[in-house]
Symmetry: D2
Subunit: 446 residues, 4 copies
């Protein structure tokens, strides 16, 4: 329960005085799409508490600015040089976002200088070997049919803030749209601060990308729906493998470092998962309430089992890791291989023949083209990013909240993480579907 | 803008006094899923208006009851005979809902008499040739992998309310879960009224099914996401056909009698649609701002075009129809064939060779198994329906609002239709994507 | 049983004297791929008859030349201007063939002038508005991921032989690869004759394209496998629709004007088809052994049925058509709509409620990208066409016979049609699978 | 080149005297499917040699018996107890074969005792904990829509021949259809020998199952087409991953212990593979013509690369393994992980940043349901196995040769392996497509 009141006000570069070239209406009921006003807000929270009279009253009073095209814009389209970069691991929908950004700049605002930055922030470093890629509607035509990003993506570079802002200056970039996760957005905030310090008129717009869906405030992130669509047949494969061999165990690892949304949704999306393991819900391997004992009972009872594990689940069972990846995140041990080995050992010890089939579909999932849900989501994210930038917003993240596109301050958005709530309805429904115990920890009093 | 205040209070059969057999927690922060209380409400509306001080204030004050398992239930599971029926046209996800309902009754509440009613309300008529189908987890195992409904579905029967309630009495059914659209839910309301008149303790729970997504209050209906996923490759086929022939025109018709959501979302989900025609946006064929003239310009300019049309679009162009279908809906003329003929005539007259390729994928779309998005949605809808019924709610529709499962009074839910808002952001983004004119009507002053 | 001995000898433009730039081996057992020699032949027929001593002896003595790269080539790659055209309706795999042809010319032989002819032979007519498209590996990169053909395709033009050869001369084209069906190949033969008459050194190579699989001598044509892969889920949709409604009948029409291979293979590929109707097997509608009576029995017995019909089946039941399409083929009546109407009438007359769901997936099937089977097939067809052309073969069709790529004289290849043999094993196995009567004709003596 | 003449004569249990209950014709040209006669043979080989007069003459004179229903059968259907078992690893199409076998026995011959043996030969051992599963058309309805085998599959058991034949006797099984690979078929041959020794009238019929496609004499084995269909998008994923990261390398391992058909065909089916490594073509890692050097050049030139490796490729680079699996096959080292490590080491040493993304989709591929090609193939294999058994054939393998279903003696079929011919046209076309060097071995004289 959030108690601190959040400040959702959006920064602007200055007053938007130029009439938008997009032909829209300011009147309702004329059958024509309307501009969005900075006054258009939605409620941040929909939960209520019961007041003393027994009536439900809103728990939160914060409101959030609605995204969309403004009647007045800040930048003269003829003066705009917009740049886009994609950072971190790939995720379904990146090309869709790029395409939407380019098309909205080009067709709606008439911007003609749009550049793609290669390999994330690294493409903006002083010694980057990768030139900017000029983008226009022809270049981005059909790119959404392929997975990944035509710009390439890489971790790192986000700490060299001064170097990046130097490059923005040298390249006369006045709009930077960055697509990335937690680390990328922190970088974007730092760039915004440096830009402000230098008193530059550069709009920094973020589009949140996290296949783990672990950015709070944001309703399910783009790519997550596709990830679940891709994970479902893999779990079905694991189930077929499990059912077809003597005491077969299908073990599948999916993305999810700190938040188990992909695993939880996949377990709900189909019926074959018996144990869904997520980072939010620590479990024991051994002991009478541990995973292995539950697995043993399941095998003897039904002959086969499917285990779906998030990459970040059970890390407490593993020796601590000190390796860091290029983004500075701790490199995780492979929980899938660890579980496979421990399961094999356990059943060998128990004298029970088993056949563990371990599948790691992560790269197959990440590299898929967006499904239609994410295609729509990304098309709209991209367009809203452009509208935000052109109207002079900055340090603004384009988010989806209660199915509406909104502007969120990047700083607020990265200040907390989104987790599967073990006491909430999603996880409750997962437990109903898998019929696994709500906890596989051995308690002292047992 | 809704001005009349809606009454979202839910009817109950009586006080729920029995402790739920579902083991859940009533404490937060114990890591175990929590029961939902009747006090748990969310805000109905998230829009705000600006007050005199310039601050955004909520536009609506209504709240809606949150769905989920209650700590106390009304029915003794041992006394329950639950029945399920699926009405109207088929839609992706029906089997998922049936499966979830059966599993939740069986595994969570221990209900052992669950019956499937065949062919909608017709299976409850006095002379129905179709017996009830006994349902249990084995029967519904894996049914979600197939499209359609294992119970069969049919229109009609909903007017014979007394006969249906007679059957419920004779069959000792005390929970009826009906899955269907507008007409079905009106029938459910009438059954509820008749049940109340007879002072029976039968819970009537509705699950909204409308592939057209035209039930207001309800966030996107189940099956719609799958429908769009299925429609996208068909539009791509139409595009390939169009591009590969001389002045090729790909013409695709999708579902949408009064609301063009499937067409609008499909047009956003990919990039090949040039003209998206929906019932909400009437258009002219002829005249300098008519569809045919725009098509002519597109063909001469680019050589090919894709037209995506909702079945209910352009009905005003067609001679009035008086035929009714089994549900009493007016049978529509086939706008697809009509457009095909008119386009062919027009270009023949203009002396321009064209090749119109018309595709009607409706049956392919309707009969698809649910994608993962709808699978999750349906699994949860079904479980929530059971929780509502067991706790003694009646005349309650299980809806999704701001991504939360809620209870809505059926009567309120069917009182208005959901339409694509021509001035809202969805249609605005469609127009940005297709780059079609916002109106293809010829105005007097032109 | 073929009795006339066929002459499979291949025409050549002249002696091949130039050493091939492809580095291959002429020695076996050196681990390196070998050139193919004109002496490499395979047997045309594999059937045997029993001789007087009771031993099986080959029924045919003809042999066919094996395709592949020759050690000596006829054309100097630096002097080659190769052209490719795709004719007739689209078919999965066209882009794969184009891509393979371009890459083999470019990478293997170093040919640098490769042109795409737009819209079939029409692009070679004197007044064609469509210029040649210069082709190279970059242009054709990834085109195989899309259905259709990047060159566009059209019927007609094949009769203006002199005009086409004039164009070949003017454009200095010395290799023409045409991809098309029966009509296209007859055109190619006429072009070859005209080229010979003028004593030109232009190689005319054909690649057979017939989604109906009706070219005799050629083992299953490219695109057919994909067509069946695409048809299967459509039949499954029809089955779901049929099962889910009262006396539902799913009716699906697939390609097959004179040969019912797609229908037959689709019926074998899955289990839902009850009646497979093909052009080779005429049937009655009425009478005690007619389709309608069999359908009636099936509906009363099982409640639902699936009918799969080739477009050319049952044409004898329809009024004669005199309309011709652009290729000069008789335009068929739509057997699907005809059957739908007749079935509806029949059951109305019989007083039996039915729900006929008619699906015509033809455009969806034709426009699909090639599956992996056809991708491999097309990649190899294209390469073999180039090898044939470069070695100076002409009037040569690249065919697959007993899973080997061979050269066939175009004239021989188009001299007869391929049909489903009603007494052969394919149709026998279809009947076993559908369990339909082997004939639905009423005989006099009945 | 085969020089030893093979003996393809098929063993029979005795004279077939009973008229077949299948209604077929013995006359040609009556429009009704015909019985197949034991005299119907096809030529084993289609290759020719050139005789002294320069004419091509058949290289082989052997002929092979054509499979199919006989007019006279050996077993009285009322006395038949048929059993089916599936052995070894799973493979797409197993359920299709089971279904076809059951349906053909049941519907065509009226056999009513059909049993499924669980977990391969192990289900026939004396102490097997798994009972026979009674099979009928209802049990096998729709099983083909799932991957794997409803009977379960396991390696081993094939050596306990006497125990198995004891079980056959006790269970009164007089037809045993075994579906499996090399080891399974050797077991089947031993069972046949033991049956003969005991003078029992039990027909032993084999259906070849090898996803590696390594059984010689048999044209591409069932499941291989599906395997390639499944592998293609995985390679595409690897390509996306490779292109999207700095010096990205996508590395995919597919099945293929001793024969690289899946890898070769996958490399031909699409365009992203740069290095296809198969067991038949040993390669060096180091040295100027080794894989690593070629990879380095590719990365520096193009920035990314895709390597596709058969599981059995490069085993000579690995330390010898002595572990055996349950079938007695040597357990291979994981060439994928080995290559990943060696590539990483190499580029680290070279100071070149790389990102290797390794994907092992084996379980996903194996467990897929059959595509339409394999569905047709399996439906027909199953039916032909039943026809063979009913007519009293034994020790007979149902094979596909030149696209015809034939009977082969099991003993001959397992006597040699099928390999990718490095000098043949398949591998030649792979090299053309990947443009990799024909050898990556360093030769002494270099």
């Amino acid at each position: 329960m959030t108690t601190k009141k959040l400040d959702f006000s959006i920064s602007v570069l200055g007053e938007a005085k130029i009439s938008s070239p997009i032909m829209m209406s300011t009147n309702q009921n004329d059958g024509q799409a309307d501009y969005v006003s900075d006054d258009d807000h939605i409620l941040f929270g929909i939960d209520t508490d019961i007041d003393e009279k027994g009536h439900p009253v809103p728990r939160h009073e914060e409101t959030v600015e609605v995204a969309g095209p403004r009647a007045k814009i800040y930048f003269n389209p003829a003066h705009v040089h917009a740049a886009i970069c994609t950072c971190g691991g790939i995720c379904p929908g990146l090309n869709n976002v790029i395409r939407a950004v380019v098309r909205c700049f080009w067709y709606r605002y008439g911007v003609r200088r749009i550049s793609g930055v290669q390999f994330g922030y690294q493409g903006l470093l002083e010694n980057s070997p990768w030139p900017l890629i000029p983008l226009d509607p022809d270049v981005v035509d059909d790119i959404q049919e392929k997975g990944g990003t035509i710009l390439g993506s890489a971790r790192g570079g986000g700490k060299q803030v001064e170097e990046i802002v130097d490059s923005l200056e040298k390249l006369n970039i006045n709009i930077l749209v960055t697509i990335g996760g937690d680390g990328t957005l922190r970088g974007a905030y730092d760039i915004y601060e440096e830009v402000k310090k230098r008193n530059l008129k550069i709009s920094i717009i973020g589009i949140p990308k996290t296949i783990d869906n672990d950015l709070s405030l944001i309703q399910s992130s783009f790519g997550v729906d596709t990830a679940v669509q891709m994970a479902v047949p893999v779990v079905r494969s694991a189930h077929v493998e499990a059912k077809n061999s003597i005491h077969g165990i299908g073990l599948v690892k999916v993305m999810g470092r700190e938040s188990g949304f992909i695993a939880a949704q996949t377990a709900l999306a189909q019926s074959d998962v018996n144990f869904c393991l997520i980072p939010e819900n620590p479990f024991d391997l051994d002991g009478h309430n541990g995973l292995l004992e539950h697995l043993r009972r399941r095998l003897l009872d039904r002959g086969h089992a499917v285990v779906l594990v998030s990459e970040g689940a059970g890390q407490e069972l593993l020796p601590p890791s000190s390796e860091l990846d290029a983004s500075g995140n701790v490199k995780f041990h492979d929980i899938g291989i660890f579980l496979k080995d421990r399961i094999n050992e356990f059943f060998k010890r128990e004298g029970i023949e088993t056949n563990v089939k371990y599948i790691d579909p992560s790269y197959i999932i990440r590299s898929a083209p967006a499904d239609s849900y994410d295609s729509i989501y990304c098309a709209r994210l991209g367009a809203h990013a452009v509208h935000a930038a052109m109207s002079g917003k900055t340090q603004a993240l384009i988010g989806l909240l209660h199915n509406r596109f909104v502007h969120l301050p990047i700083k607020v958005a990265v200040s907390s993480r989104n987790h599967v709530d073990l006491e909430g309805s999603l996880w409750r429904d997962v437990l109903e579907n898998t019929r696994q115990p709500f906890s596989m920890k051995n308690f002292k009093f047992d």
